[in-house]
């Protein structure tokens, strides 16, 4: 018996299958991003056309029949409305056809739990950095067991900030990696640095960096932008690590693939004698397996949802989710 999970928050439509935490399949199709980013309804249309193929590929990879599935999970949010709706629809159809319980999963929890499980972590402080999200989280028991947000971005996610800058600089916005390449060998010049306690903000930095392109090279600007933004994340994370008194530091989400960010966070962890764990890249990118993993935890800990609760929520906050496992 197995759990099937469907992820469709943004550019990726992913289907994963897991059984007792073991990932049996993890298939996806990604909307090809050109130079202009994403138009949500177009991405949703793309997912619509591909959904059945990805589901079939996942079942084939796991080598199971639909009848062997016990429960289905889908991403409730946060994400782009039209995209979320496709995943919800696909999951609902499967659950109706095979009479299976449905589990609405929080996207951030997917990234966190799948990584936690991969390293068998007990109680990590989590830095979750992706296109739309930048949060520092850890489990707190009151008023119910949940991931408390110690700090987060006041405005935009760090990934989107770097991608927007990449477009302004004429670089291909390929998940920040082109900015990292352009930054190699650059020289630092001063940029706005905004950390408030354990929160931070990126739009001021982005505007400044884009304006700086008129007077500075793409290389120096990319370098200064990256160093400033990552230092902000590290400072907030370091503060949270000490406040929360956690012994493990974990980073996940799309931007966790950045080499420089990993290097910097590694130093933070080492200085405070905390273990440091980076999610493997195939789990940092959005994927269905992480939704399956959380759906399984929800299902096995006895969660049950009726029709009215099986909605989508574009702004579904992770700290409203009860962690029942």
């Amino acid at each position: 018996m197995a759990i099937l999970g469907i992820e469709s928050t943004a550019h990726t439509f992913g289907v994963g299958i897991c059984d007792k935490g073991r990932i049996l399949a993890n298939q996806k199709s990604m909307y090809p991003i050109k130079d202009r980013g994403m138009i949500p309804v177009k991405v949703a249309g793309f997912h619509m056309r591909n959904a059945h193929l990805v589901i079939k590929r996942a079942l084939d990879e796991a080598g199971i029949k639909p009848g062997e599935i016990e429960a289905v999970g889908y991403t409730k949010g946060p994400g782009l409305g039209p995209c979320l709706a496709v995943g919800q629809l696909a999951a609902t159809l499967i659950s109706k056809r095979y009479k299976l319980p449905l589990m609405p999963v929080n996207h951030a929890l997917g990234h966190i739990e799948v990584t936690k499980q991969a390293f068998r972590l007990k109680d990590p402080l989590v830095l979750y950095v992706s296109g739309g999200n930048s949060q520092i989280l850890g489990i707190v028991e009151n008023p119910f067991r949940h991931y408390h947000v110690y700090g987060e971005t006041f405005d935009i996610g760090i990934g989107n900030m770097i991608d927007s800058f990449a477009r302004a600089a004429g670089l291909v916005p390929a998940w920040g990696s082109t900015v990292a390449k352009a930054a190699a060998g650059g020289r630092y010049f001063e940029m706005p640095y905004t950390v408030k306690g354990m929160d931070f903000a990126f739009t001021g930095l982005q505007t400044f960096a884009e304006k700086s392109l008129e007077s500075h090279s793409v290389r120096d600007t990319s370098y200064s932008l990256q160093e400033t933004a990552f230092a902000m994340l590290c400072e907030a994370t370091e503060r949270a690590l000490l406040l929360a008194r956690k012994r493990e530091l974990m980073v996940c989400g799309g931007v966790a693939q950045s080499k420089r960010l990993k290097e910097m966070l590694g130093i933070v962890a080492k200085e405070h004698r905390a273990g440091f764990f980076v999610s493997p890249n195939e789990l940092n990118a959005d994927n269905g397996a992480m939704i399956a993993v959380v759906a399984e935890k929800m299902y096995r800990s006895g969660q049950h949802y009726s029709a009215g609760q099986l909605n989508i929520n574009q702004r579904y906050r992770v700290d409203t989710v009860k962690v029942t496992w």
């Binding site: 006041f154 306690g197 230092a231 400072e235 503060r239 910097m264």
Partner: protein, 207 residues
């Protein structure tokens, strides 16, 4: 000098200066960020902290007054007591009335700081100390700013709201209303920031 605490921000040493019990707050170098950025931040913050500590203490507020300022270190008077954080988290015991009174004072002081156009930047129980005589002291101006911006000031309220239970926060607001010249505007601003929706629905402590 003896190291007495090491935080995320700085190392604190105890020492004596001019016959007084003092501490030296040294902003340690952070190896994770490049040297130019690190030097700039440490120097800027040290300078601004010393300036704002002086501004607040010269207006008669309970803050450790700076005695000697270096490039990345400040020597200041030592406050002997316990941080409010120890009481609000139940780590140390205190009477309910005294805790509530301390939060009220914290609100009054916050309003006075705002009247001086100072936003503390990290106004949480961890940065408020109750001395042995029961007086409340504000410490750590490391993230403080001289500003007229209502947004910056409202963030002080938000940080406090996120760090204490609901009834303690109400006591805090009661004090704040007494001292702050434009408390109504600030409380409205706080609600506005929360409405932007990036904030959690509950605080670290159960209500």
């Amino acid at each position: 000098m003896r190291l007495i605490s090491e935080g995320a921000e700085a190392r604190i040493y105890e020492t004596r200066f001019l016959g007084m019990d003092t501490i030296v707050k040294e902003r340690a170098a952070k190896r994770y960020r490049i040297k130019q950025l690190d030097d700039k931040l440490r120097r800027q913050r040290t300078k601004s902290e010393a300036r704002l500590l002086y501004a607040a203490s010269s207006h008669g507020m309970n803050v450790p007054n700076p005695l000697l300022v270096g490039l990345t270190s400040i020597c200041m008077r030592r406050i002997r007591g316990r941080s409010l954080h120890e009481f609000t988290t139940g780590f140390a015991r205190i009477g309910r009335a005294r805790l509530s009174g301390a939060l009220h004072d914290a609100g009054v002081y916050c309003g006075l700081l705002h009247n001086l156009d100072i936003a503390h930047g990290d106004y949480t129980p961890a940065n408020l100390m109750l001395d042995n005589a029961g007086e409340l002291w504000i410490i750590d101006f490391g993230l403080a700013k001289s500003t007229k911006s209502p947004e910056e000031k409202a963030l002080d309220l938000l940080l406090m709201k996120r760090s204490v239970s609901q009834d303690l926060f109400q006591r805090f607001l009661a004090g704040y209303r007494k001292s702050c010249a434009y408390s109504g505007e600030m409380i409205k601003r706080l609600a506005e920031i929360e409405r932007r929706g990036r904030y959690q629905t509950h605080t670290l402590m159960a209500g």
